[in-house]
Symmetry: C2
Subunit: 148 residues, 2 copies
Amino acid sequence: MAGPDGDHQNLALLCFYPHRAMEARLLATVAAEGFDDLTLAQARLAARIGPSGTRLTDLAEQALVTKQTAGHLVDQLQRAGYVRRVPDPTDARARLVQIAERGEQLVAVARRVEAEVEAEWTAHLGEEATAQLRAALTRLRELTDPYR
Amino acid sequence: MAGPDGDHQNLALLCFYPHRAMEARLLATVAAEGFDDLTLAQARLAARIGPSGTRLTDLAEQALVTKQTAGHLVDQLQRAGYVRRVPDPTDARARLVQIAERGEQLVAVARRVEAEVEAEWTAHLGEEATAQLRAALTRLRELTDPYR
DNA sequence: CCAGTTAGTCAGAAGATCTGACCATCGTCA
DNA sequence: TGACGATGGTCAGATCTTCTGACTAACTGG
């Protein structure tokens, strides 16, 4: 959409590289540790499931996909044993998507890798610069994340 | 892949929001200004075309897709008049993908929107914090962008 | 208890991406 | 200089992702 223009890279593009790097690293590592089904789209959706379960509609909204897409991906995740659907006790229409047993194992690996990668980044940038980076991005999120 | 954990959000996820916001804004604006064909995938690839043209293989590598996918997207972009393919004078196997007339118009709009959005972000964060953010992301790119 | 909203599904189509096979050209080294 | 592995690119086919539109069931406020 933009175009490479030497040193002054567009801020959004600069944001893209770390995200892509983390995503690729996570997916590769979990695949290497036995979770070799699991596509990127499934992982992106699964990453948004909260500790006590999340409604399909909420997942869809946060991931910026339609309910249909989210439902389709949850079907796959369920078939692979990563998540389960349980009735929402507060609303008979709704069901909560929860992390299942296999999903917990996956999350454990993912959290470990995330921590590793962040540690590498922190080592490269320094503690202080990393803290500033996190702070700036967190403030920026006020503008850029409609689902805070 | 990860999971929401309150305030201490994973750095990569924090990087994701601005990128997504920019991408959505760009796509919506160019669509509103008449470039209403153009899918996200096409735009992502087109954004990597250099001033004097770029080889298909390089586009694919930078966008982290296969040559086939890149070729498919370039076909579409070409049909829509955004790019053209010319022989690479230095290698008879290769062809350069170049921005065509309609593509130039698109790029102009995209650059304008990019500048607008960055200005909003700078206004929100302050000049100094924005400069620090850019610097940190640029250094991080040394680790996270294999195609620098 | 009706009307409008919300949660989710079904069906079908379009897009994006991949794997595998293939051809032409390039570069190199004997 | 000529054979051979590497590189740029395409074709074909399959799978995955995502969307639009239509629908059912359940909630909610008057």
